[in-house]
């Protein structure tokens, strides 16, 4: 009896010790192995369920059947872009930019890429135009560059890069959570293209050993799993964002404030804008053309609209930005379009850059003409 009890006690102790050691081993091994990029590429999208029409992003996962995560591999693996090898008869266009490209409050078919695809365009060599929505809802050019840098492997024929002044301030570039949470790739971009950004900016998320272990990365792992599971609802409903029943329209009456992002009138200093990131895009794509588009903005006619165009932009800053944009395009001989006033105020939804389906369609028509003129010389 005593012997049995002793044996029991010893084996129990061993079980606990072995269990703890095994757990610690797996937990710690996770850090150097860093398997998240690999795990991100394992996806049921495009196999069991349809690929997403836009990159994963969502603030109300329960209602949007979508969520925000920072694993670029998992994000792209869930996108329809990763479905198959590029067909020979496809003229592939990648559209990058902010939430207006991603399509805030818009169904996937009502986004820029949706309308361009529904136009069934063909380029001069007979290939059919297929546009992919790679917009992501934060205003930062380095975020766009991060996405472009990843997306280039999908063999695009044309990049459309939608920009607006709010994406340009140097100080804002690292505000985007996806940028902060992909520090190594972003730092690599900064170094490779000598960008005017601080490599050691404290906004970069730095991970200690504990944060890199299995326990530390549990949220990132759960996000990958949740993205896969929400694929069922995406396939079943075609819903990938929460559509509120009502929303606040863009501010019509504006405050008497001439400042823009802490910058004072009357002159916009080019050094305060990340024009170098725009140039870096050209370096990444090489021979693949980029069409830069200054996207439409809401133009207010209310109180103080003589000072400001809208909530985002004082007139002095925005006018000088447009001028700077045009000069930069001209100097670099880039393909550029300035569509700032293309869309009437009624066709904006809940912000100065978010357009209604009709507004988006109007812009898409302009882009379609430009695509054809670029590809049918």
């Amino acid at each position: 009896m005593t012997e049995d009890k002793t044996t029991n006690k010893i084996s129990m102790k061993r079980v606990i010790i072995k269990g703890v050691l095994l757990f610690l081993l797996i937990d710690l091994l996770f850090a150097p192995l860093s398997p998240l990029p690999f795990l991100g590429r394992i996806s049921a999208y495009n196999i069991i369920y349809a690929g997403r029409m836009r990159l994963p992003y969502g603030e109300n996962p329960d209602q949007a059947y979508n969520l925000s995560l920072f694993n670029l591999e998992a994000m792209f693996a869930s996108h329809v872009l990763a479905a198959t090898k590029k067909p020979l008869d496809e003229y592939r266009i990648l559209i990058i930019g902010d939430s207006s490209v991603w399509g805030y409050l818009l169904k996937p078919e009502n986004t820029l890429s949706g309308y361009i695809n529904s136009a069934n365009l063909n380029v001069s060599d007979g290939r059919s135009v297929r546009a992919y929505n790679l917009g992501y809802p934060t205003l930062s050019l380095i975020k766009d560059l991060l996405i472009l840098n990843y997306a280039i492997r999908y063999q695009p024929d044309l990049i459309i890069w939608m920009v607006t002044l709010e994406s340009f301030p140097v100080a804002n570039q690292l505000e985007s959570p996806i940028v902060q949470n992909n520090p190594f790739t972003v730092q690599d971009l900064i170094t490779s293209y000598s960008l005017n950004l601080d490599l050691h900016d404290p906004r970069f998320v730095t991970l200690n050993l504990w944060d890199s272990t299995l326990v530390g990365k549990r949220r990132a792992l759960a996000d990958i799993l949740r993205l896969q599971l929400y694929g069922v609802m995406w396939s079943a409903t075609g819903i990938d964002q929460y559509y509120p029943e009502s929303y606040e329209p863009p501010q019509e009456n504006l405050t008497l404030d001439e400042y823009f992002q802490g910058l004072q009138p009357p002159y916009l200093n080019p050094a305060d804008l990340s024009l170098d990131i725009i140039s870096a895009g050209i370096n990444i794509t090489g021979n693949i053309p980029i069409l830069y588009v200054n996207e439409p903005i809401y133009i207010s006619h209310g109180e103080n609209s003589d000072i400001r165009y809208n909530f985002f932009y004082p007139r002095w800053a925005y006018d000088q930005y447009r001028q700077l944009f045009a000069e930069t395009c001209s100097i670099g001989r880039w393909h550029c379009l300035d569509e700032w006033d293309l869309v009437p105020p009624d066709e904006f939804t809940n912000s100065a850059i978010h357009m209604s389906p009709l507004g988006t369609q109007t812009l898409a028509s302009e882009l379609e003409h430009e695509i054809l003129s670029l590809t049918n010389p």
Partner: protein
Amino acid sequence: MVASILAIYWLQPSTPIRHLDFWLPTVCMALTILTWILTRPKDNSDVRSNLTTGLVIATVILLIGLTRYLGPVCCLTPTRPPALYQIALAVVLITLFVILANRIAPGKVGWIYGCTILIVGLFAALKYDPLTILMSMALRALNSQAVELASAFDIRWLGFSYVAFRLIHTLCDRLSGRLPDLTLKDFTIYVIFFPTFSAGPIDRVQRFIQDLHRPFQLSTDTALNGGKRIFLGIFSKYVLADGLALFALNSNNSSQVNSMGWLWVMTYAFALRIFFDFSGYTDIAIGMGHLLGIQLPENFEHPYLKQNLTLFWNSWHMTLAQWFRAYFFNPLTRALRSDSHNIPMPLIIFAGQLSTFILIGLWHGISWNYAIWGAWHGLGLFLHNRWSDLLRSRVPNLESRPRLKQLVGLGGTLLTFHYVTLGWVWFALSTPAQSWNTFLKLFGMA
């Protein structure tokens, strides 16, 4: 016992009504003591032990109240407990009531019925939204809070459903003379035993007490088994069930689905989700019971692999089904059988099964959908009962034909699983119209 008391305060979620997260467990303790008084034998001699237990309960409640002074939200209750004088006043009032009840109530059948009605009434008020809203309004008015903001979600009394079952079980067994002599300590531990407090299983007090009094020393095997069950439960609940919940059928997504195939996937997901959720909780409770020397009854035994609905209900939430069988179905069918009206047996079975399962449905919440879900199962069980009787005499013995037997078994399992799964459409959605539309969609008719 002290751990269980602390646990029920700790587990209770916060509510918008001020201090209700403290008062609900306190009322739970008061009800437990009252029920014990009503069910204890008149000549209970262990007065000293019971007084000590009462004192310990009062002290623990007061100590929990003292955590108010350790910070805005200290460590146990989800919000700051009420002022100490209010708690002391409540303890004094409960004590006075207990003394009074102890003088006049023990052994009195009227008090037992009264207490049963009180518990059932409370239960109904918590499960029927209009009544819950009324209660919320009253409590809000009492607390000088905005009455117009009253909602059914204001009163979330964790574990009360199961506490009610245990209390009614003891009251009924007291009436039938089957209840053993219990000290206040044993009774309290049985009613609020923390592993089973929020989601069962519903143990029988006679069996529970035997385990409680058995000398217990934790052995390796017991610890490993317990640990394994807890791990399995955590995995079932937090990985499988919570994962399936992301795409399981619910009131929001049922109308958004654009294909029949995916709607079936979501319905299957709900069936699996509810199983893993519930069986996961049960595994955790049984595992913890192992570690504490209590062999809690099993609640699930591969229910989705059963070949007919009767076997399904013998293996799904077994302790709930047993409870209703013991305290509702059996007494009802006995009464109907002994009735002078000479009711035919099939009708008795039909009435018994239908009413039992409608009640089980209503236990989840008083709504048309839960009632229909119950009726779906009651009807299914009756049909199976009749079908079995019909087949018994007509179908040749399958024992000599193992292949056919296997095939029939597989067909039965698939049929039962799908009957149960379709039944969940009533359970998962909030209105009969929504459920009916989902049925039409599932069969390509909408």
